[in-house]
């Protein structure tokens, strides 16, 4: 069966939700560029010895965090609410009566949200580089690897949040409950390099903290973030099958 029309229509409908469009697509780049421009210290050059480029602005260390935030925002606030709302409104049940299996709708939305995430991440990188003069990553492949693993781990977590919530509001509540601590570990509140050691150690074992630290290492060309990569692989390996298994279709 051709799921093309379903994907096209769902994309159109997705783009009609102002909250999804703002938080998933615009929020990361807006936060990065906005704060970069507003807080003077963010644009002054780094003075820490040993970093590759002393002339890079301070805000550079914030970019990996913003990428992690983009992943967390879509996977924990946008997607679970959409899935739980499908369940709440009976959309999944309605589809079950047609030749189109409801899992194709979920599949279509995973695709849409991944594409939206790519757009949001690209916007943050391009926005940071052009407006704030952030230099490009030293090891882009490491950043990309960590970004992909962050996506698989966090989307699996989002799927698990959406698996059982029978209302959009419930999914939103649980999502937020995970989202805000995640932001802490991602370095939004306390930048990773100045995080107290115990917090950095804790963050390393959370999917979002590992993502943030891994991408930071890749951006600055530090040693390969092996632990962080393994942590994200492990989270994905545990959460994804669990999310699929527990997902309630009606």
């Amino acid at each position: 069966m051709n799921a093309g029309p379903l994907l096209t229509t769902e994309t159109k409908v997705w783009l009609r939700d102002p909250a999804a469009v703002f938080f998933a697509l615009v929020f990361p780049v807006l936060l990065l560029v906005g704060l970069g421009l507003v807080i003077p210290d963010f644009r002054s050059p780094m003075e820490e010895p040993g970093l590759p480029w002393d002339s890079a602005p301070n805000v550079t260390i914030w970019l990996p965090t913003i990428l992690a935030l983009a992943v967390a925002t879509i996977s924990l606030t946008t997607m679970p609410v959409q899935f739980a709302t499908f369940r709440e409104k009976g959309v999944l049940r309605r589809l079950a009566t047609t030749p189109m299996p409801p899992r194709n709708l979920i599949g279509a939305h995973l695709v849409i949200n991944v594409v939206a995430l790519l757009v949001a991440a690209a916007a943050a990188v391009v926005g940071g580089m052009t407006v704030l003069d952030i230099p490009f990553a030293v090891d882009p492949l490491v950043v990309l690897l960590c970004f992909v693993l962050a996506t698989t781990a966090m989307f699996s977590l989002g799927l698990l949040v959406a698996a059982r919530a029978d209302r959009g509001s419930a999914a939103s509540g649980i999502g937020m409950l995970i989202y805000f601590p995640s932001l802490l570990f991602s370095g939004v509140w306390v930048p990773i390099p100045v995080m107290p050691d115990w917090m950095a150690q804790m963050a390393k074992y959370t999917p979002i903290g590992a993502a943030s630290q891994g991408m930071l290492a890749g951006w600055f060309g530090d040693d390969f973030p092996l632990t962080q990569v393994l942590v994200m692989v492990a989270w994905t390996a545990v959460l994804f099958p669990l999310g699929i298994k527990l997902f309630r279709w009606t």
């Binding site: 051709n2 029309p5 379903l6 009609r16 709302t85 499908f86 959309v91 309605r94 009566t97 030749p99």
Partner: protein, 337 residues
């Protein structure tokens, strides 16, 4: 109403739907087992509008959900177009259109988009433009689902059930929440759909709807079939006394009539009971009760302002077979689990 029907009528071929001894129980966590459907059997013939009538919680929706292969039955057999939807739910999807009880679309999808995307799910497709025309939705084609009125949502829901050119359409509580004019319009629409050759299984808790629309029906109560047949068969089958209701504008007239008729009841075998209710007098008796009442009142020159014979409805059938008054929402537990 069978006389006014046009187009395709029921035929004598193999039944389109065959449900035998269907049983479905739920176990709510920690609670006792609840029997949603105890024992339900019926057949639907091609081209008819077949009703499943009963109060909320009687097991109607569970029955059609098992029939559509959306739920696993615990016992009995179901066949839809000769196929087994329990064993192979996918085998009936192309040929059965289902309108579910509740709205089931994203608030931001438009009428036109919903019809187009649902059409893309099926091999055989009705023309969405024609369907919109049939259901008076054309002028709303660019309106988002969340902004439609209850009646428009219901019409769209019916359109979506028909967009795959189904042989059988299952319509569950399709006029709930509609105003009287919209209900009548929907009824006419259902007849038009049937006339186009679609067999219709109508689930309803509205007695008048079943009486008006259904060629045949089953009455379900507490998970079992308590009556079945055509609406006329069911009401004619009542072993009931005939009734006459008399209304008087003035109390004096009513008082005299009551005295006369009460006296009449003691000596005339055709009159069995006289009761005063709601400011009216109801007299019951044999088929000759109307004549007896009129003769008696005419002789005494007591003239009622209004005389009505009491007609029997499916509601009386329900009272007769269950011994309870019909209350549509008496045990609203239809959607457990």
């Amino acid at each position: 109403m069978t006389a006014t029907r046009s187009g395709a009528g029921p035929d004598d071929g193999p039944p389109v739907v065959d449900v035998r001894n269907l049983r479905k129980t739920y176990r709510v966590k920690g609670g006792p087992e609840k029997v949603a459907v105890a024992d339900v059997s019926f057949e639907v013939r091609r081209g008819e509008i077949f009703g499943i009538l009963g109060p909320n919680g009687a097991g109607k929706t569970t029955t059609v959900e098992c029939l559509a292969g959306l739920r696993r039955a615990d016992g009995g057999t179901v066949r839809l177009l000769g196929r087994d939807p329990q064993a192979a739910p996918a085998s009936v999807r192309e040929d059965v259109g289902i309108q579910l009880q509740e709205a089931a679309l994203h608030d931001r999808i438009t009428v036109g988009e919903a019809l187009d995307v649902f059409a893309s799910f099926y091999e055989r497709r009705a023309d969405p433009a024609e369907l919109m025309d049939l259901l008076d939705l054309t002028e709303h084609r660019n309106v988002q689902f969340g902004k439609l009125s209850g009646g428009q949502k219901q019409r769209l829901s019916i359109a979506l059930a028909l967009v795959g050119k189904p042989q059988v359409a299952i319509l569950d509580e399709l006029t709930t929440g509609l105003d009287p004019a919209a209900r009548r319009a929907t009824w006419e629409l259902v007849e038009r759909v049937r006339d186009s050759g679609v067999t219709i299984l109508l689930v309803t808790h509205f007695m008048d709807e079943a009486e008006r629309l259904c060629d045949r029906l089953v009455v379900i109560d507490r998970g079992t079939v308590v009556a079945q047949g055509t609406p006329t068969e069911l009401t004619d089958g009542l072993r009931r006394d005939r009734g006459v209701r008399l209304r008087f504008a003035e109390d004096t007239g009513r008082g005299r009539a009551l005295d006369l008729l009460t006296a009449l009841a003691t000596r005339d075998d055709d009159v069995t009971a006289v009761v005063s209710a709601d400011g009216e007098i109801e007299v019951t008796g044999t088929r000759k009760v109307l004549f007896a009442v009129v003769r008696e009142l005419a002789a005494a020159d007591v003239v009622p302002d209004d005389v009505r014979t009491v007609t029997h409805s499916l509601e009386d059938v329900f009272v007769d077979v269950t011994g309870r008054q019909y209350r549509a929402d008496e045990n609203d537990e239809e959607n457990v689990a």
